[in-house]
């Protein structure tokens, strides 16, 4: 029996030892898995953005870009996020929506900004989308809903334009998993607090949207893709309790009003 135990143990140790020794080699680097993944994500980001650019109009007003960039830069700076990673695009569209695309592209529709009562509400939505980018939710969602093989095929031009369009629309018009949404909400609260932005208006924004939840107007896409707004607003408020109260606006109130005016002109 002792001999059997010794021999069994030897085999187990041999296997575990082989595994341990092999794990000392950075196979991810050897097989260039990260580079291939990054390249796929970059390609997908550009292709999907192109889909939206073809069907919608990107706002090229330098003042709009500068103000939105200022907000995103402040949030990134306060949270040690590489600003270069987040590429914001404002599209003129009568739809209250914002969404993240692969490779850090963040799309904000003009009507979301126009319908935000204050800059904190917009900052909340932006932080929520940045959280999706930072937590790698975008690629996770795509892999889950479309499949890795199709994604690689899209990125290498192996599929038609319609497949690319459908894949891009998945990100703009369908929800993430409830757990991913909650992770993004809680991370967004942290980002807001670190950037000294009051998270309460973000919760108010969700409450405000939740009143329309029963009869969602077609333009309220962000609400359709982010259900259970009331529940989310509640836990956002709960999570914000006891956090810093030294809040200040990122852009001046004049600039905020100017931003809305500029977008209303289009």
């Amino acid at each position: 029996m002792k001999k059997l135990f010794f021999q069994g143990l030897t085999i187990v140790l041999f296997f575990l030892g082989t595994w341990f020794i092999l794990a000392q080699i950075d196979w991810v680097k050897v097989f260039m898995i990260e580079e291939v993944t990054d390249k796929t994500e970059q390609e997908l980001g550009s292709l999907f953005l192109e889909v939206f650019k073809q069907s919608e109009t990107e706002n090229r007003n330098p003042e709009v870009k500068a103000l939105i960039d200022k907000m995103v830069s402040e949030i990134c700076k306060a949270n040690q996020i590489d600003k270069e990673k987040i590429k914001v695009h404002v599209f003129d569209k009568d739809e209250i929506n914002a969404f993240a695309l692969p490779d850090g592209h963040l799309v904000v529709y003009s009507d979301l900004i126009i319908n935000s009562d204050n800059q904190e509400e917009l900052a909340g939505v932006i932080c929520h989308e940045i959280a999706h980018i930072q937590l790698n939710h975008v690629m996770k969602k795509l892999v889950k809903e479309i499949g890795l093989s199709v994604l690689i095929s899209i990125s290498t031009g192996g599929t038609g334009a319609e497949v690319t369009k459908q894949a891009a629309k998945t990100l703009s018009s369908s929800a993430f998993d409830r757990s991913l949404e909650k992770d993004a909400d809680l991370a967004a609260v942290d980002y807001l607090v670190n950037a000294k932005v009051n998270p309460k208006p973000f919760a108010d924004f969700l409450y405000k949207l939740s009143y329309n939840e029963d009869g969602i107007p077609s333009y309220l896409t962000w609400l359709e893709t982010h259900p259970d707004s009331r529940e989310r607003a509640t836990y956002i408020l709960e999570f914000s309790k006891g956090k810093s109260s030294d809040y200040k606006p990122i852009v001046s109130s004049q600039d905020w009003e100017k931003l809305k005016e500029l977008l209303k002109e289009n």
Binding site: L4, T10, I11, W19
Partner: protein
């Protein structure tokens, strides 16, 4: 890790063939059921059960072949489901995952080579006891 030992009696030619077949069976099962480890195990189990009433030499080698498959099954299954979760879920490709797959491949290759070798030896009537599996078989399989 193989060990040549004198068997308790000299097997007849048909016994050598039966014993050798138990290893060939597991080889075929490995090739056919490569993506699904359970196929190898079921095939070896069926062969083992169908030879329960055979002579001691055949039974002994069927048991050793089955036990080898049985333990490899767990290691292969773990690798199989890990791979499935990498391909179809959000599970990332990590260093540990690739190292595990290579370790599993090495283990299976060693077992594959030993299986071919033992199949040839048993066909010649030479009794081969594997490290650990042979000892375990001696405890389970009695004349």
């Amino acid at each position: 890790m193989n060990n040549f030992k004198e068997f308790s009696y000299k097997p007849e030619d048909h016994e050598c063939e039966g014993a050798s077949n138990s290893y060939l069976m597991s080889l075929v099962a490995i090739i056919v059921g490569l993506p699904l480890p359970i196929v190898n195990l079921i095939a070896s189990l069926i062969f083992y059960l169908s030879n329960r009433k055979s002579t001691y030499f055949i039974r002994w080698h069927c048991t050793q072949a089955f036990l080898a498959q049985f333990f490899t099954f767990f290691i292969n299954s773990f690798g199989f489901w890990w791979t499935i979760s990498v391909v179809f879920t959000e599970e990332p490709v990590t260093i540990n995952f690739i190292a595990y797959l290579i370790a599993v491949a090495i283990l299976n290759l060693i077992e594959f080579v030993f299986t071919i070798y033992t199949a040839i030896q048993t066909r010649k009537g030479i009794h081969v006891e594997w490290w650990f599996y042979g000892t375990l078989t001696n405890l389970i399989c009695k004349p």
